[in-house]
Symmetry: C2
Subunit: 418 residues, 2 copies
Amino acid sequence: MLQSKLFSKTTKNLPEGEVAKNAQFLIKGGFINKSSAGVYTLLPLGYRVLEKINKIIREEMSAIDGEEVLMPALVHKKYWEQSKRWDVDIIYRTGKSEKDKEIKKPEYGLGWTHEEVISAIATNFINSYKDLPKAVYQIQTKFRVEPRAQAGLLRGREFSMKDLYSFHTDIEDLDKYYKKAINAYNKIFKRLGLKAVVTEAAGGDFTKEYTHEFQVFNEAGEDTVYYCKKCKFSQNQEIYNNSAHKNCSGEVTAYKAIEVGNVFKLGTKFSEAFNISYLDKNGKKNLVIMGSYGIGPTRVMGAIVEVYNDEKGIIWPETVAPFKVHLISLAKSKKAEKQAEEVYKLLAGQLEESEVLFDDRNASAGAKLNDSDLLGIPLRIVVSDKTTAAKKFEIKNRSDKSAKLINISQLKSLIKKL
Amino acid sequence: MLQSKLFSKTTKNLPEGEVAKNAQFLIKGGFINKSSAGVYTLLPLGYRVLEKINKIIREEMSAIDGEEVLMPALVHKKYWEQSKRWDVDIIYRTGKSEKDKEIKKPEYGLGWTHEEVISAIATNFINSYKDLPKAVYQIQTKFRVEPRAQAGLLRGREFSMKDLYSFHTDIEDLDKYYKKAINAYNKIFKRLGLKAVVTEAAGGDFTKEYTHEFQVFNEAGEDTVYYCKKCKFSQNQEIYNNSAHKNCSGEVTAYKAIEVGNVFKLGTKFSEAFNISYLDKNGKKNLVIMGSYGIGPTRVMGAIVEVYNDEKGIIWPETVAPFKVHLISLAKSKKAEKQAEEVYKLLAGQLEESEVLFDDRNASAGAKLNDSDLLGIPLRIVVSDKTTAAKKFEIKNRSDKSAKLINISQLKSLIKKL
């Protein structure tokens, strides 16, 4: 698409108090807009990145038999009361609108997780062992009261979440699916360009076993993980026990880390509260065993920016970049201008047109190249009077230090491989 | 996909007080689940329909240069105060969580529309006439206080909305785009199988001119529209003036109607409140002229069900059906069973596998055929011992009264055309 038409522009202005690097780069680049603390709009560039992340997640959820649903944000208090979670601190409550601007006895808690809703639904469809196993997921907006919301997309008051729920006849079947889900998560993070370390963490209310988090080691992270490179031992600080690292001569090191996903064995906590039961082969009634599995797509986007950047801006992995190619015209002559347009046509012929950003703006070379570094599109192609005169094209990967000149046939074969 | 694996099942049980036909069919078919009054979950079948509706909308929005964004649901009260809409009755307010379960001085109004948010954003990117026109849209969840939420998907407390906003230098440019948007809406509703009549309606606060609604004539509708078939005169009851129907010998008739879309000329209402201005060619500062354009995808889904049904269930238009083909095995013999599996392979080879629902369940013929009518998939193919013995296949369009038998070569050529 033409950069001159793009809704957003790059900016040097940051909202007051925006200290997180991910939010700073994303705001400067015009990917997101800060609406209020911990609440952001995804502008066209940011929405493109988010949808690429979501597409990868959907493909891997589908591969482990997840069926997509969409649950509501307005979760009636009857659900929270049933699981005894109406009183939690992090829930936003709302209800009947009152002109006096005070809300008394709110009726809804905005969904910060959906175990309650999916459990109530599951009772309608699970009756027999023949109905199991089942897995459903959604990519949906979640709300959590965060007193300090200063980490940009890493910790918002409103954020997107992929939550998968699975239902099983017994622990063995849950264990099997749990491993499949971990495997799917490893694939997802690999495709997203993130090195996520499977880390043991506390089970909270749900389970006496450990749960597992997917942690990306990075200074912006709010977690601390104790990790041994040699044997892959990894525990969240909250449960870390030095004596658990046994039979290994490797060293355990503490890392700051961003939690990008987690998997929980819920056991019967919610099937008990909501009475999700099934008849087994012998006609005996049993409680269903559940698992729950989360990834935050907007947090993932923030994590990718924290991991992939330099002083000039973002360096998107190819799989999630808003565009595959940034074509920049620095043409002053008609001849070079025409050349740039021809390259745009070549690119649009090979890729979808929507995968090429063509900087056709009337701006200085410096401004255009700086913007390109800030936006972080993987491949940059520059057409100028100079390159046109030399019958060359300047190409540069965002992650490379310097550009190189190639001729038309080299350009064509490069484009063919995109 | 295999129907035996599907998360949902059909049901005869309806939640108490569910009187709307669209919700009744959709709940019975396992498309949606009622969470509380006016709040629904989209189950896998319903989510598939919604995504098909959204895809059509996205294509037509993109065709009129709409760029997709995603705005938040938590809209800080500062925005509503700036446009003097914090006090409206339909807004759900929330804020800091309080353990005492009362919320005093809420900070957020849940977005029931997003003129405020997009206007605040636009000030960052619109400075010059060169930045105009611009159009952005989102498909996002909206919240409105509805004291009576009894119309199923036609009027929810939580529902999905496509909202498009456009920005222009002057009224002429807005008028031009407004016509383009109406044209795009006509295309959308045509593709969705809905006959939507462009109807004049009151401008409310926004404009002294009429706005335009897209009305589908149907008894389930909550609006009344006065319409002349001959000259296409159409006015909402709230503004209807008999004397406005001039120079036409046709008759004006009152119809109940479902509003599935609307378009507004906002003028400078929000650009004034948020100070969205631009410098014109002479360096003079002017206010931006805005338009806003809505379609409710979940309401559209409800409207389609209200229009397309019979006593047995839903009759989905092909463009939004959850699957293109419903393959039903009534096989008792191994031979017929194998035959059904072969047809499934044929279909999956031609279509995406996800476009075929294969009823492989162990259930009676009656149950399977009744479920098929309820689900409303456009093309049904039945394989039974009888059809297999006769080397035939039974096919029936959901909208046809009777089935017919075809042979394998006819089946193959039918499948090729899918």
